[in-house]
């Protein structure tokens, strides 16, 4: 399913609701992009540039970037994913979190060369409106956020935590989440969502 609408909503598939030019651009983006290369201003120099293979959300990509470039910028600027998000570039807030072999990591601190052979999952790779991941479903049901800019980190971290530990204690939750910041202070809703997701995932696993 491609992105619907104006970029603010995914709920409605009524085409009249989906500001159409946007939608068109998304359709064209659906064609898998296997090689992304920066082609402009090549003459400036390619001293540290190298081809790196990345597996992102189950898809193989080859990017031609500086091997020291943090994964964050490759995912956002080369692969044009909206998540992870830049928050501090210092590994202090977690807005840039991705799952690397299902371990939450700060993509602003990972040189792209570190990622060869690893499986990277971003928020986009969890679920879709048609097939939401239980964690996403729970966060929607609890209306867990205000601005939502940081939510990428919370959702993927919760997913990794609950995969490993279906019954997290208060201490487990603190260990998993103390590295993240929500400046809007939506922690109460986030906690409710994580608890709801844990319940949902247990019920699902029993089925």
């Amino acid at each position: 399913m491609h992105q619907a609408g104006c970029g603010r909503h995914v709920l409605c598939d009524d085409p009249s609701r989906l500001d159409c030019l946007q939608r068109l651009s998304m359709v064209e983006r659906e064609v898998p992009t296997l090689v992304v290369q920066r082609t402009v201003f090549k003459e400036i120099g390619e001293a540290n540039m190298s081809q790196t293979s990345l597996n992102v959300n189950g898809q193989a990509h080859s990017v031609d970037v500086d091997s020291d470039c943090p994964l964050l910028y490759v995912l956002r600027d080369d692969l044009e994913l909206k998540n992870p998000r830049f928050g501090c570039g210092l590994g202090q807030c977690g807005a840039c979190t991705v799952l690397v072999d299902n371990v939450p990591m700060r993509s602003c601190q990972l040189p792209v060369s570190f990622l060869t052979g690893k499986h990277i999952v971003t928020l986009e790779g969890l679920g879709t409106p048609e097939k939401p991941h239980p964690v996403q479903k729970a966060f929607i049901e609890e209306q867990a956020f205000q601005c939502g800019y940081c939510l990428n980190g919370w959702v993927v971290t919760a997913k990794a935590l609950l995969d490993k530990n279906p019954n997290p204690s208060d201490r487990d939750l603190a260990n998993a989440f103390n590295g993240l910041v929500c400046r809007c202070g939506s922690y109460i809703g986030i906690l409710a969502a994580v608890r709801r997701a844990a319940q949902e995932m247990k019920t699902r696993d029993k089925r």
Partner: protein
């Protein structure tokens, strides 16, 4: 059709693999108008007197509404959709809210003062009521019946008792007169329109008041939402900013050789003390900004020592003073008082520190149309300011608001846009500027520090006979919260433009804190000049969520608690003696009930002998017709000085509630954020710089700090117009926590934040 870049619209769509925000808000029926405008190099200017400036019914039945207000992450979009849907008898998911594009939305003064529902929704509601009448008139003509014989449900009009005579809003859309006009009154934030049709009586509401889930959250949670940081335009370069090494330092030399070898590096842009780097990709820009060797002139020690801050506020000759209130004879009554109570309270500089440090994209065309994409709260003011900065007419600049992280006032997103404007102007290409964390936390604008002295006189029976209240503070509008002049931005200050538009904003008794009815009362406010306030300063002060509200309420509500303790009365009973307002009483009563309040004076008699002692207390907040009573329960570790807020209970009355689900989320966020500001937040600085650069030096509440229990009691008053909820519940928290610490320990904290070091020091000197 060609755009100004000379490529066809179709090609544009194909080439822009990212966001097409410039066109995304435009539906097919109005797009040509904008495309033509772009070709002419002009922008359209929606006329408030036209119905279609506010609302359009599409043939598919979607109702599109246009507002100059923007959603800063608190659910405004959803609430506005409900308000419009209510008047039109439509499902809210059939309403599309277009926000903050200066070419398609009316100037409503931007988002400000928690007024987007109280003020901003009025013209939309009235336009919707007008549209409903017009649609009913069209239907009545079609069916040859009177309007009274018609009914409407979910956008379908039919003749009562005759299901065969049915027509939808969409079917009638083509028959609506595009030149329908409305009567306009007011301007800016107060602009309103009226047309045929009266809005509904709130007692009949079926959509407003419902807990509708937020319309924007699913897109956010599936990772598809487009924030400002996702804006990509063809040919776009990436910029980063290098600020002076110390406040007031002048640029001496830039060594371009230090960055020339970086792949993707394009150019250094230097104008006076404004330094930026531009690169083909983000990583190159980051590397270049880091590697660039810049020589600055010696530090000028623009700031005092941090520990002298409050003494500075108290000893500096104020740049402006005002007696904001006087009742009776406070001087005489104080002179004759049997007993006096004096206290001083200090509140620090604080940083908005939004999750996104700041991002904007500018595409400057000096001979055509300049477009700036920004997450700033006031796009129409930015349009004015950026036009002035470029020296071009207003109609040559279009600002398109795109949602950013929650901004909590005027953090610096406005300044990021100006950076992007200057870089794009220099490059002749669109430039995206992303601020790094220190660009925001260290150099972003600040909430002002303030200092308060309060004196009360009491008679023999413990009655308060007089109160004198004096505030000394930096202006919350030194950097004007309306970013409408070129001199409003950091970049402008660095290129040598004088700061313009700043104002002396006075702290007012009764406006920023509850107004108790004391017989003899005097309130005086002093504004103290900022540090290096004639140039670019990292301590430039402006509006931060609930400007001056938490600080002033901290002083007033702490002092009320001190008075109650001195006379040995329960803090709520004491307040009731000096207040007449039933709604203020009601929130205190509701919060107390929910909290299971034990009526007794503070401090608690038997604190016990353990390290951990617990206490509870309350504070009142009143703001532009919104009332908040907040109870805090705390645990204080007497050994370490650590304070833990274990529970917050907030009773909230903002008149009519539009969406209780969304409102609870806003209040919960405010409570935690204001708790964070109370316990942790203080901008640190040395003689030359702000040293709070990141989330370590400027810590905020994290997971483990959050209260185990937060209870929110909503008091709904459908008969009272909504009065705003975005900020008010931030207001009483600092005092509620200070009062609870006093209840637990008998020790009074009078300086925010209540860090363990400060609490421990207070406990050991008690």
């Amino acid at each position: 059709m060609s755009s100004k870049t000379g490529i066809s619209r179709r090609d544009f769509v194909k080439s822009a693999s990212g966001l097409l925000i410039g066109f995304s808000l435009i539906d097919s029926s109005i797009a040509p108008e904008f495309m033509a405008a772009a070709q002419r190099g002009a922008v359209t200017d929606p006329k408030a007197a036209r119905l279609d400036a506010w609302l359009r019914v599409q043939p598919d039945g979607i109702v599109r509404v246009f507002t100059g207000k923007v959603d800063v992450g608190v659910g405004l979009e959803t609430a506005l959709a409900q308000i419009v849907a209510e008047e039109l008898d439509l499902s809210p998911d059939r309403v599309v809210v277009v926000m903050g594009d200066t070419s398609v939305t009316t100037d409503q003064g931007g988002t400000s003062a928690s007024s987007s529902i109280a003020q901003g929704a009025r013209p939309l509601r009235n336009a919707a009521a007008a549209a409903r009448v017009l649609l009913m008139q069209l239907a009545s003509r079609r069916f040859g019946t009177s309007i009274d014989e018609l009914q409407v449900r979910n956008g379908i009009i039919n003749v009562k008792g005759d299901p065969s005579k049915t027509v939808s809003y969409g079917d009638l859309a083509g028959s609506m007169d595009p030149n329908e006009t409305l009567k306009v009154s007011g301007n800016g934030g107060g602009v309103n329109v009226e047309g045929p049709g009266k809005p509904k009586d709130p007692s009949t509401y079926t959509v407003v008041g419902q807990p509708l889930p937020r319309l924007d959250l699913p897109a956010k949670i599936f990772g598809r939402f487009q924030y400002i940081t996702d804006v990509r335009v063809p040919g776009m370069l990436h910029g980063r900013i290098i600020r002076p090494a110390s406040v007031g330092a002048k640029l001496v030399h830039v060594d371009e050789d230090s960055v020339k070898g970086i792949p993707g590096y394009v150019k250094i842009v230097v104008t006076k003390d404004f330094v930026g780097v531009v690169a083909e990709n983000e990583w190159a820009a980051v590397r270049a900004a880091k590697a660039l060797k810049v020589t600055w002139s010696a530090p000028i020690q623009a700031f005092p020592e941090q520990k002298e801050l409050y003494e500075h506020l108290r000893s500096a000759t104020p740049k402006a003073s005002r007696e904001t209130l006087k009742h009776g004879d406070p001087i005489g009554a104080l002179a004759n008082a049997a007993k006096k109570l004096e206290a001083r309270y200090d509140f620090p500089f604080q940083s908005h520190s939004p999750m996104d440090p700041g991002c904007a994209v500018a595409d400057v065309h000096m001979d055509g149309l300049t477009t700036v994409w920004s997450g700033g709260q006031k796009p129409h003011y930015l349009q004015k300011g950026y036009a002035e900065l470029l020296g071009v007419p207003l109609e040559k600049v279009r600002v398109i608001w795109v949602e950013d992280a929650g901004s909590y006032g005027r953090p610096g997103y406005e300044d990021t846009g100006a950076d992007a404007v200057l870089l794009s102007q220099a490059m002749g290409r669109p430039v995206r500027v992303q601020w790094m964390r220190a660009d925001m936390t260290a150099w972003g604008r600040k909430g002002p520090a303030a200092s308060f002295d309060v004196i009360a006189g009491l008679d023999e029976k413990g009655g308060v006979t007089a109160v004198q209240f004096t505030s000394r503070a930096f202006s919350a509008a030194q950097i004007h919260f309306l970013p409408q002049t070129a001199g409003n931005y950091l970049a402008s200050e660095l290129i040598g433009m004088p700061i313009t538009g700043g104002a002396d904003e006075f702290i007012e008794w009764g406006n920023r804190a509850p107004a108790y009815a004391f017989e003899n009362l005097q309130a005086v406010a002093h504004v103290v000049a900022g540090f290096h306030d004639d140039g670019a300063s990292s301590l430039g002060t402006t509006h931060m969520r609930d400007p001056n509200g938490p600080a002033t309420t901290f002083a007033v509500e702490s002092f009320m608690d001190e008075l109650a303790a001195v006379v040995g009365t329960d803090p709520i009973e004491f307040r009731f003696k000096y207040m007449n307002d039933v709604r203020a009483r009601a929130v205190l009563t509701a919060a107390a009930e929910k909290a299971g309040w034990d009526t007794r004076p503070s401090p608690k008699k038997s604190a016990g002998t353990g390290d951990i002692v617990a206490g509870r207390s309350i504070a009142l907040g009143v703001r532009n017709g919104t009332y908040i009573g907040t109870v805090a329960e705390v645990e204080v570790n007497r050994r370490t000085g650590a304070v833990r807020v274990t529970r917050l209970v907030c009773a909230h009355d903002c008149g009519l509630i539009v969406n209780p689900l969304s409102l609870r989320g806003v209040i919960a966020g405010n409570l935690v954020q204001s708790m964070s500001r109370t316990l942790k937040e203080e901008v640190l600085f040395d003689r030359n710089n702000v040293t709070s650069m990141d989330w370590i030096a400027y810590p905020v509440a994290r997971w483990s700090d959050v209260p185990a229990q937060v209870d929110i009691v909503l008091l709904n008053h459908p008969e009272i117009a909504p009065s705003g909820a975005g900020e008010p519940s931030s207001r009483p928290t600092p005092a509620a926590i200070a009062n609870a610490i006093f209840d637990a320990t008998g020790v009074r904290l009078r300086q925010v934040p209540f860090t363990p070091v400060r609490v421990k020091a207070a406990l050991s000197s008690a």
